[in-house]
Symmetry: C2
Subunit: 146 residues, 2 copies
DNA sequence: GTAATACCTAAACCTAACTTTAGGTCAAGG
DNA sequence: CCTTGACCTAAAGTTAGGTTTAGGTATTAC
């Protein structure tokens, strides 16, 4: 069992954020001894899940819903699984979008590298997609797909 | 040249967002004819860059800085390149984090699949990392790295 | 001529996710 | 004793990134 300060250190989060999560009922089984929060394994695992679901673009109120399901017992396994499945799909498409943005960034790095060498963008602006150098062509194309 | 409504449709953005971006000086070279905004190629490319940089986690005020550099001419090529390099690095690490979160999601999908079959989490909770099934082991390990 | 549209502005409003503030309890150390 | 530090609460404040509102102009459709 850990105090709020220890958990804050372990997860590199401000104490105020942990209190905020608690107030948002993200730790439904959190215990207290004379008013003081005691974080156990359940809460540490909850925090790992919270970090994951936040990264997956979920809002606090939906994370709370999940925590409530956990407290409800085995009858909610299917709901919980469906939620993770839905998040997985969402996340895969987010990662795909980020990879497209990353290709754009790579293309821009190449572009400015060239611009610095040329001293201007004249040659680059005259370049049509078809005659981009092989090394950058597919990156450019990915970057401009949807 | 396009009107704000046409651009809104092309980029699937509300008109109000385009006006907001303009107010934030994200289109420093935007022209107007009798008060009405006229979006040209420069602005369309700016919008593509804005979408990319937002996805890369940049704030509006930093995107503005980049747009100002573009308006300043060739002397800012190095700054612009450095900015894209920095974003590229940042984005690569973001994608790595998202992939770790995705592994956690995959693990949880597997976990609840098992829990549904078992009717409870007893067997799962007794499982120690070392004797997880091969199919899920590396996913579990990735999900718990960092 | 009047009604529906598409455009314009300034300014108020909104939301999520925290963070800060103000005030208080309690235990240990000097 | 009294001060330092870790904990507590409720409530107000903050920030980014828009969105909405209220009021106005100009063009086209009937």
């Amino acid at each position: 069992m850990y105090t709020i300060g220890q958990v804050a250190e372990m997860f590199d989060l401000p104490v105020s954020t942990l209190r905020y999560y608690d107030k948002q009922r993200l730790f439904p089984e959190l215990e207290r001894t004379s008013g003081i929060r005691r974080f156990g394994d359940t809460e540490l695992e909850a925090l790992r899940v919270i970090e994951c679901l936040k990264k997956a673009g979920m809002e606090i109120k939906d994370i709370r819903l999940f925590m409530e399901w956990c407290a409800e017992g085995p009858s909610t396994y299917p709901k919980r699984k469906a939620m993770f499945e839905e998040r997985k799909t969402h996340m895969e498409s987010e990662i795909a979008k980020m990879n497209r943005a990353l290709d754009m960034l790579k293309f821009k790095c190449w572009y400015y590298e060239q611009a610095i060498q040329d001293g201007n963008e004249d040659r680059l602006k005259a370049l049509i997609p078809d005659n981009l150098p092989e090394e950058i062509k597919s990156t450019y194309e990915n970057a401009h797909t949807q």
